[in-house]
Symmetry: C2
Subunit: 363 residues, 2 copies
């Protein structure tokens, strides 16, 4: 497709071109049924096939066991910040939170509206540029769950190894920005959720993968939409789900499977991330903002140049070359290259080539 | 476009073909920016133009005064059932509800989780096939709001005239199934909301139009996503909004304006509804399920044939002729033709022609 840019946005983010082309081709008439997916009743057999197909593909990709439900919801991670404590606070009304960024902090703030939050790790002392050790002496054996963010979009960090919660404490993960980027052992978690708009599909879809025993504990005053039991019993269709976003997610899952699944994605993603990080680490013109390479994200690579003025010029010049949305998050500045599943190796190669040329001209 | 059907689904529902065609044409590259709308950062100038344009168009179409905010949210009407009491219960923690269908009942049930519900009217005695009188002696002068559903999708009813709440009590309306179908005086309401998937756009977008003085009353324990103040202060972008659905809604608003706005829509809608209702009322083969024509919806026309078997045959035969999704809601049976803004006059004409032919063959 001519005139497409390489889009390094952190989310909403680049999607596979073949998926967009397929969606465009059937946007007025899907599968010969005479209407758009957007026009289909969510109760129609055609849409049931779409949502069922999307769920089945996700289950295959992530090897989700049968005793986990997959829920297609709305409201983004932000609504899950509240929904999780409203459903999972059930015994001690306390949970262990690891603070690895502002989204983890926001999640903890929402949990505090419902019960107690016990901070078991934090990297705020260094502006979240590393993944902290979990102080196991701080872990609460009675915690209703332990909460982590697997990948921190703003800061470019990722847990090098998942923390192990105390026996019987379910691990809850916001995996919005690295879901499906590499294999993940679902059975290690009580709940995994992600907003679709980074690694999967369009904004407006939030997927929750939740173990059966964690469903059904919401108190009577919890809004019916937020009760996982409502959504599980209704097969994500207690009310009208975001049908088109689910369809797009299904197409992205299909695309992933066609390339070899999560294992193939991981191989491609490490290859992309290594190309970029190797280049940065071999340069004294660019500096990675996460010093410990083992803590670096393979989805969001953050780095800086020698001055804010150089950062700005870099972003502007890159955009002129069709490498767009490289500006770091407004809260941290610098450069951020988000290189999700849909970003091709060629895109990262083009970025590295540009970086080399820019360095030559601006040293 | 060849092979398109006439889609009488109640929602998600038919959309204007020209809108779908425009979306398809720019699905991989929107406005020459080198990416899909779905891939745009919600913080980008390009998307800010899209959301700003959609809001401005809606404000023009509905003549929304400046002291009302327009919020683009997620979660459907179902989440608003809870969000409204969580925000608007502020003094008496009681509200007046008119029960004109199962969605009004569900809304009342959610309000009961938060405070008191005072039922001021109900048509449940006759399976909601009429709009009840509001018993003014039952109205609570201290109610925090009065709640109605302007159009009842399942039953095919619409308020012939809006009820007038007691002085100072804000009127709150679920207008999901007749928003923008005819002029509505926004200043008569404290809050109007609608799910997009009936008369506006794809599922996954809920629009709330709320008067400024009703914002900012949520109690501290209310989830931050559900606090109208969060959403108003953030310009609907406290977190990532459903960007593509907002874009589609904007295209639909543009399409409405190009046809002459809400007044032109109303003219077209009454013409369509009258064609269908005149035909039904002049036939003894078909019976409207709402006896009082003044109470009938111009968006959802419900009727029955002489037997359940005939109803079934009607739906099946119609589908063969490209007139699809005519089955009534599973809770009431019979036939329902949803003829929202996007349904052309020709579609209703085709339906009436089919009805005449079917009557001849099956009498």
């Amino acid at each position: 497709m001519a005139n497409r840019v390489y889009n390094f946005a952190a989310g909403p983010a680049a999607m596979p071109l073949s998926v967009l082309e397929k969606a465009a081709a059937e946007l007025t008439n899907c599968g010969g049924c005479g209407m758009s997916v957007m026009e289909m009743s969510h109760r129609s057999p055609a849409f049931e096939e779409i949502i069922g197909g999307a769920e089945a593909a996700l289950r295959r990709l992530m090897k989700i066991p049968d005793h986990y439900k997959v829920l297609f919801l709305q409201g983004g991670a932000t609504l899950q910040f509240s929904t999780i404590p409203l459903n999972l606070y059930r015994n001690s009304f306390s949970a262990d939170y690891a603070l690895t960024g502002s989204f983890a902090k926001k999640a903890a703030a929402e949990a505090k509206r419902v019960g107690k939050v016990n901070v078991v790790a934090s990297s705020e002392d260094q502006k979240f540029n590393y993944i902290p050790e979990v102080d196991r002496s701080k872990l609460d054996p009675n915690a209703d769950y332990m909460y982590i963010v697997t990948n921190n979009t703003i800061y470019g960090t990722k847990w090098p190894e998942l923390p192990t919660p105390l026996n019987g404490v379910p691990l809850v993960a916001d995996a919005s920005s690295n879901i499906l980027s590499e294999p993940m052992d679902v059975e290690k978690f009580g709940l995994i959720y992600f907003g679709a708009q980074k690694n999967v599909g369009p904004a407006g879809l939030t997927v929750v993968i939740v173990r059966d025993d964690l469903i059904g504990h919401a108190k009577p005053e919890v809004p019916i939409y937020l009760d996982y039991k409502t959504q599980a019993d209704g097969g994500s269709m207690y009310n009208t789900p975001p049908t088109f976003a689910i369809y797009m997610a299904g197409l992205v899952f299909e695309w992933m499977e066609s390339l070899g699944g999560v294992e193939a994605m991981a191989e491609r993603n490490y290859k992309k991330a290594n190309l970029l990080y190797d280049f940065i680490d071999n340069s004294d013109f660019y500096t990675a903002t996460v010093p410990n390479r083992a803590h670096r994200s393979i989805m969001n690579a953050t780095f800086v140049l020698g001055s804010e003025e150089l950062n700005k010029r870099f972003v502007a010049e890159a955009a002129k070359c069709g490498l767009v949305n490289l500006k770091g998050h407004r809260s941290v500045g610098g450069i951020r290259a988000s290189i999700y599943n849909a970003m091709e190796y060629e895109g990262v190669k083009a970025l590295v080539d540009f970086m080399a040329a820019f360095e030559k001209e601006n040293r």
